[in-house]
Symmetry: C2
Subunit: 482 residues, 2 copies
């Protein structure tokens, strides 16, 4: 009944057009197709040329077999069901952490809404973790515990970007939470290209040029997003680059959003993690007016606890008026989930030398980290062997973002099908091998170049095979369209 | 440095003005003051005229001593730490539910991001629960598991309300998530007053009048919000009223948002819960184009698992185009927290007769329910004894919303202090008794009337005392300003 449909509120024609415009490729059309193929294989094994779909579209370690952190899970189980504490099941450091958390609730239960910024005891652990990491004090009152890192990012963007007259400087390529959120706010995306040839390093001159150009067009740049370590690029920023970024923010009155969720995923020892807040503190008192919001999460690192939706935002140099409004935005959703708060507090308060779980936890997390590091190396090595694919070293995070050569005929074919060339490539890869990656166009890329993002997360006994199948596919795809 | 502050992004002058405009009284200024008083009492017991702050501002049962549901917590503990299953700790129906959930994950862990609508097995339980409740089929593909009910409500509003030209019909008084979200979207709030004299019943003629008037002013009404059982009013809607609301939606092409999070909290047996989807199905095929989104949560009912942030949205008659966009909005936050998904699935799949936990769970939840029912009765009885306070019967939900007489002199005093009269009243109540309620102005009320919302949640051995102190306060407040 076309007449009836025309009257509906939620159709493409009638709904809010900013919603229609927003894109989020990490869970976009190719991933929806991958889920269909998974269902088909479950219902009808053997019906496709491959046995399973390998989800390399998203940094979701436990989906690909990574085991959850035992210590964190024990603490959470104790908080969920405190009767377990009387059964002599858990090491003493698990029990003490559970007791400390329960003591901070009104009725020894994590089933109540907490303060909208999170339980004080959990925020104290986070602040201590940050202070110890940087040697620069952090205040629990400036911490917001959130469901993963995403909600904090949305709160800040919502407060900062009021419409098309406001610009958000976002690296290209970027994580599409930023472009998607800016589109929902009807703001202006100001993409600044990273330097691929230099390992996807931050190009501050380019960001400055983009900011200045925007001003000339009547758009006020308000926010500078930096993702360090880089998603999807795997780059890690040097202190010098971070300093330049802070200078740029000062020059243009930009609020810095430092997306540091991959801070533990550093594989190149020559390039350790430096937080924006630490570098800013080292720059001295002239920078105490540069607004900074930093983000971290339990989804990455060695925890990989994506499903728990735990994370935090820390505010620095934010005016009390601004903080009050960010609190209000958080309070409209009441509070973040308490299991996520618990896991976040554990990530920030790991077993210490002498504590009962210290050895076992350290062994578990070292093994986990070393495995990620080996896989990061394997993926870049193997992909670089393939003619027509070249990738930068994966220095950090969980992704590689290789550049790919797509033959002209394949580009034509893509156009016929209404797809970006790299979307066509990724879809063909999925349909013939079951490997699900995200096309570079979902993150942004220099015009005329093509990429895809793949995680480094398939299990070690499988990752060689995944790379091999990718190589075979690339060869036959190139042949088919040459 | 005023110059530097002026340049900041997040100040009242510079930030997005829609954010500044949005209000959320449930966690507003009075609650912030209550938290300060709590801190003061913790640091310095005996420093105030009361021993503790009683948080009646929010439906947060476990903060006031309600115990969490044992069965649900056992299932969650098992999902969090599956090693517990080998220890012969849990009844067989707990084990079978844990096994069923873990079997639906890729690696027997709830630590992975799930499908953006939630784990299929959990959505199946929700759909079965809805189908059994209504005798009208529900499809797991139409279910979105969310962090409490709030995110689903935000997704629908975001898609439906693009700007001031779009109106959202919201009951007055209402739960401020609606007014707050509409303000953030820069949409137009269209308040329709409920009928206080008739137990806060839905007044569909009034809603029709408001919708028609809006159209005359160039505002297209797009959404009809109904909260049933009512928050903050405690009203429960009759099938006839629901039918009228659906007719109204059909007439004006409105998408119905049915906020049914208090569906288990029904204390008046003569007025059982009827879902919008059930009544709509009974109205026959002429209504299969009326768009409906229904919401439920684990935060209320007898679970009271607010901190777990579990809930769901079910879509009915939403066009596939609209559903695709709601999915995209959900996917930008990746997925809801898995512990919340687990608790939601348990709420929808309770122990059945013959299962190991059936008796103990039924006893526990019956006791819980009967206690809530007694407290609902106590609160309305006791408050109605106070001269200058009159409240409708609490037929459902967790709140009473009494009308209060505020002397003219107190109204003047409030004006001097820049407060709404009922905000001044609530603040005075807090400062002298420690009882924290929310002023009616935070929910909306008929001009010239004053109310407050209080939960019925203080423990049974305390609730008489709370009412008594409220009565004393009201008397002396009235005396002071007469």
């Amino acid at each position: 009944m076309p007449v009836a449909k025309a009257a509906k509120v939620l159709t493409n024609a009638n709904m809010s057009q900013t919603v229609l415009k927003a894109q989020y490729a990490v869970r976009g059309a190719i991933v929806i197709r991958a889920i269909e193929l998974q269902k088909q294989l479950k219902a009808n094994p053997g019906s496709l040329d491959f046995e399973k779909v390998v989800m390399c579209n998203i940094g979701n370690p436990q989906e690909l077999g990574q085991r959850p952190p035992t210590f964190a899970r024990q603490v959470l189980a104790g908080c969920v069901y405190p009767d377990l504490l009387n059964m002599n099941l858990f090491p003493s450091d698990v029990v003490s952490r559970v007791e400390e958390i329960l003591a901070d609730t009104a009725s020894r239960s994590i089933g109540a809404y907490t303060h909208s910024q999170g339980l004080p005891v959990c925020r104290e652990k986070v602040a201590k973790f940050i202070s110890d990491r940087d040697g620069v004090e952090s205040n629990p009152d400036d911490i917001f515990l959130t469901d993963g890192a995403s909600p904090g990012i949305k709160y800040v963007l919502q407060a900062a970007i009021a419409g098309p007259e406001h610009g958000c400087l976002v690296p290209i390529p970027q994580y599409p939470l930023y472009s998607g959120s800016v589109a929902l706010l009807n703001g202006t995306m100001l993409g600044y290209e990273l330097n691929e040839a230099n390992g996807w390093s931050l190009d501050i001159e380019e960001a400055d040029r983009v900011a200045t150009e925007a001003k000339g067009k009547g758009v006020t740049p308000r926010v500078l997003v930096v993702i360090n370590p880089g998603n999807p690029t795997g780059n890690t920023a040097t202190p010098e680059t971070i300093k330049d970024a802070i200078e740029l923010a000062k020059k243009h009155n930009l609020l810095i959003m430092a997306d540091e969720v991959y801070q533990e995923n550093i594989y190149d020892e020559m390039r350790p993690f430096h937080s924006f807040r630490k570098v800013m503190a080292e720059m001295g008192p002239g920078y105490d007016q540069v607004e900074l919001a930093s983000f971290h999460s339990v989804s990455k690192g060695v925890f990989g606890e994506c499903g728990m939706r735990g994370g935090f935002m820390e505010l620095k140099n934010i005016d009390p008026e601004g903080k009050e409004q960010l609190y209000k935005l958080a309070s409209i959703g009441l509070c973040s989930n308490t299991p996520g708060q618990v896991i976040t507090s554990v990530m920030c308060n790991l077993p210490k030398p002498g504590e009962a779980s210290y050895k076992s936890h350290t062994l578990e997390s070292t093994n986990q980290f070393e495995s990620l590091k080996r896989r990061a190396a394997t993926v870049s090595e193997e992909l670089n062997k393939i003619e027509g694919i070249s990738t930068q070293n994966v220095a950090g995070a969980m992704y590689c973002f290789p550049q790919i050569t797509i033959p002209a005929k394949a580009q034509e074919k893509a156009k016929e099908r209404g797809l970006a060339p790299d979307a066509f490539y990724a879809l063909s890869l999925l349909e013939s091998t079951g490997i699900c990656v995200v096309p570079g166009s979902g993150f942004g890329q220099k015009d005329g170049t093509f990429h895809f993002r793949s995680t480094i997360l398939p299990p070690e006994d499988d990752i060689g095979n995944v790379c091999e199948r990718l190589a075979d596919f690339h060869e036959s795809f190139t042949d088919d369209y040459s």
